[in-house]
């Protein structure tokens, strides 16, 4: 088997053309039409909310494409950033839901209910900033990015990479989960932060609110795709790929490898955080079960199924895996874990570039040949050695 990564690198690095190729504009248009027109038109409110939930995971998968596919940094702790973003949002919503008149039966009115149950009598200092909406919107991204920066700066400066980085991020995800579960009075413990009602006075539990949030979510996702595409096409994106393939050569060429890696990791964290915040808004709660190792690795498989090198693939992969998960676990709950496990193995062994790889290696060449044959009726004119890509 030829190395698929190499052939992909070629198509990336040779590229000094416009922002997006025609085929990429097409994929983007397809995605926009499906997310913003087809799905809302065909699904009922419950299913649409479910798709909205899946799409928040797609933010994480998108970040992983940049961080893992392009920069070669496998993070098994993306759930941390998803969770931190989600918790920041949830803290704001919870404070709004715990106004003095809503909580007057508590011994200390005006603080979240779980704090009252745990004999905490005043709002802890780190909850205070979340009383203001603008500050919350900043912190939703700032806190996870800062956290990612601290982790990755310390590690990449010391040239820790590859498997070690994966193990450490995994450990950090585990630590954060244990911490959140253990500090019940400050975080809501294993139940998470629940019973969220309004966003700045706007009830987020109604169907119409879910609808609006779905479109906001879709718009943000497309914005993030464009940002990721910009990074991928810029010089920075090429350095990331170069670094992934031969880190030492990039270093010897005078680039600060650590800086670029930190950037890629922080960008992925920012995407994940946006996804987490949108998750909280659409689903109405946040809990440690979205922070730990299991969800973090699940999110990696979304990106792997879609194609670790493809921005659009990651979105389709997320939708596909989650759709399969929902329909399987509705009808055969026992089989789902077998299916998921087999999916991990199959993707790694047989399709290392996922759905996007299948498209690029098998369908696209065939399609281009068709199109060319249609355009030029006399096939003898086309040389046999026409470039396949």
């Amino acid at each position: 088997m030829t190395n698929p990564i190499q052939s992909l690198t070629k198509s990336v690095t040779v590229n000094d053309n416009p922002f997006m190729k025609p085929i990429e504009w097409l994929s983007l248009a397809l995605l926009v039409v499906v997310i913003l027109v087809v799905l809302p038109a065909t699904l009922d409110a419950f299913r649409l909310n479910l798709v909205g939930k899946y799409l928040t995971y797609a933010f994480v998968a998108l970040g992983l494409v940049i961080c893992w596919g392009y920069a070669g940094i496998l993070s098994l702790g993306q759930g941390c950033f998803f969770g931190l973003g989600g918790y920041c949002m949830a803290m704001y919503l919870k404070l709004e839901a715990s106004s003095i008149e809503n909580t007057k039966i508590q011994s200390t009115p005006g603080i979240p209910d779980f704090m009252d149950w745990n004999q905490i009598t005043s709002l802890p200092w780190f909850w205070k900033p979340f009383q203001s909406l603008p500050l919350t919107l900043i912190l939703v991204i700032a806190v996870p990015v800062l956290f990612a920066f601290v982790i990755s700066f310390a590690m990449f400066k010391r040239r820790v990479g590859g498997t070690y980085f994966a193990i450490i991020t995994q450990a950090i995800a585990a630590i954060l989960t244990i911490l959140i579960v253990g500090q019940q009075g400050y975080t809501g413990g294993i139940n998470g932060i629940t019973d969220l009602r309004t966003l700045h006075g706007w009830d987020i539990r109604t169907d119409s609110a879910h609808n609006i949030l779905y479109f906001v979510n879709g718009g943000l996702l497309i914005g993030c795709i464009l940002i990721a595409q910009f990074v991928k096409k810029s010089k920075l994106g090429r350095i990331l790929v170069a670094m992934r393939d031969k880190e030492d050569r990039v270093r010897f060429s005078g680039y600060s490898v650590a800086g670029f890696k930190v950037f890629a990791f922080c960008l992925a964290a920012a995407f994940a955080a946006i996804g987490g915040a949108m998750f909280t808004l659409q689903v109405g709660f946040m809990s440690p079960s979205f922070v730990g190792i299991v969800p973090s690795i699940d999110m990696v498989i979304y990106a792997a199924v879609g194609g670790r090198m493809s921005l659009f693939g990651a979105i389709w992969g997320t939708l596909l895996v989650n759709w399969a998960k929902t329909s399987f676990s509705e009808s055969f709950p026992d089989l789902w874990l077998f299916g998921l496990g087999a999916l991990f193995i199959l993707v790694v062994l047989a399709f290392p570039n996922g759905l996007a790889g299948i498209w690029r290696e098998h369908l696209e060449p065939r399609l281009t040949r068709r199109v060319k044959a249609l355009r030029a009726p006399a096939p003898a004119i086309i040389p046999q050695s026409a470039p396949a890509e």
Partner: protein
């Protein structure tokens, strides 16, 4: 935080907690030994290691019920047979997995991680389908129940002592196997320089398969020992996998001595802290300390000089 205890109480606490830590240490060492062999020798990240351990635990559980129902006379010594069977079952499964899965992925360590994670999900579901979602415990023979009274404030449980003895025995056995036997010599040769080992006639594929099997087999024994101090459920293995990986990385991936030293320090810190803080905070502080140290010293405690 020490104020309300007298000096005598404190020393008893430290001895008892130290002993609890030693039992944790035994399980950690048994699990980490297998992982250190696999990770150190082949650079394979085996996320399904916890499930190999749980396989050993379930084999022990089956043996315990079998002996209880069919051979009650031999029940007091069933445990030794169970351990051997656990080793063989996990080892055989390990070799099968190496043959079917791992050997295709030696050049892509991050992908091995994902594939073995998939394997671990499948094994978990298999356990759940076969043994049920509830945790199972084994019946201990009577001579393992009870405790030794050392002084009037210090008691030491016998099953803990037994687990520790097993750990010492296995550790010595592995050390002899790796450092004194012909097979160990081949393993170390492949670890140090794969092409050269092949050039002098070592069948490195075969060595890989047996090494992977050995690591998984030790995990099976770990699971067998684990049944003496806790009950087993389909997802018990996953609880230990992060700790075990941290232990191996903290100890320095290729060093057996480092693995033991780091298992010792981590388990002792955790169990001592557990007495003064809540269990979850003790774990958080311990793991944070380990991650912090690893950020300052990424190569771990002990390093083996290997030409890469």
């Amino acid at each position: 935080m020490f104020g309300e205890y007298s000096l005598g109480d404190l020393s008893s606490i430290f001895v008892m907690q130290g002993f609890a830590g030693l039992i944790l240490f035994s399980v950690y060492v048994l699990m980490a030994l297998g992982l250190a062999i696999i990770f150190g020798q082949m650079g394979v990240i085996n996320m399904a290691h916890g499930e190999f351990m749980i396989l050993g635990a379930y084999v022990t559980y089956l043996c315990s019920t079998f002996f209880q129902n069919h051979l009650p006379a031999l029940f007091p010594i069933y445990f030794f047979l169970a351990m051997i069977l656990a080793f063989m079952a996990s080892g055989a499964l390990g070799m099968l997995v190496e043959w079917a899965l791992i050997r295709h992925l030696y050049k892509r360590p991050l992908d091995t991680l994902l594939a073995t994670w998939g394997l671990s999900l499948m094994l978990q579901q298999a356990y759940r389908s076969i043994f049920g979602a509830r945790e199972v415990g084994v019946e201990l023979p009577s001579w393992l129940i009870g405790s030794v009274q050392v002084t009037d404030s210090i008691e030491i449980p016998i099953n803990g002592l037994f687990v520790m003895a097993v750990t010492v025995l296995i550790t010595v056995g592995v050390a002899v196997l790796i450092f004194r036997s012909r097979f160990g010599q081949q393993v170390r040769a492949v670890m140090a320089n794969r092409p050269m080992a092949g050039a002098v006639g070592i069948d490195s594929e075969k060595v890989d398969r047996y090494t992977f099997g050995l690591g998984c087999g030790i995990a099976g024994v770990a699971g067998s020992a684990f049944t003496m101090i806790g009950s087993t459920g389909p997802t018990s293995g996953q609880l230990y996998i992060v700790d075990t990986f941290l232990i191996v990385v903290f100890g320095g991936a290729a060093s057996l001595l480092g693995t033991i030293a780091s298992a010792f320090s981590i388990s002792q810190t955790q169990s001592t802290l557990e007495f003064f803080l809540s269990g979850s905070m003790a774990k958080v502080l311990t793991l944070l300390a380990v991650v912090g140290i690893l950020m300052l010293r990424p190569q771990g405690l002990f390093t083996l000089k290997v030409r890469r």
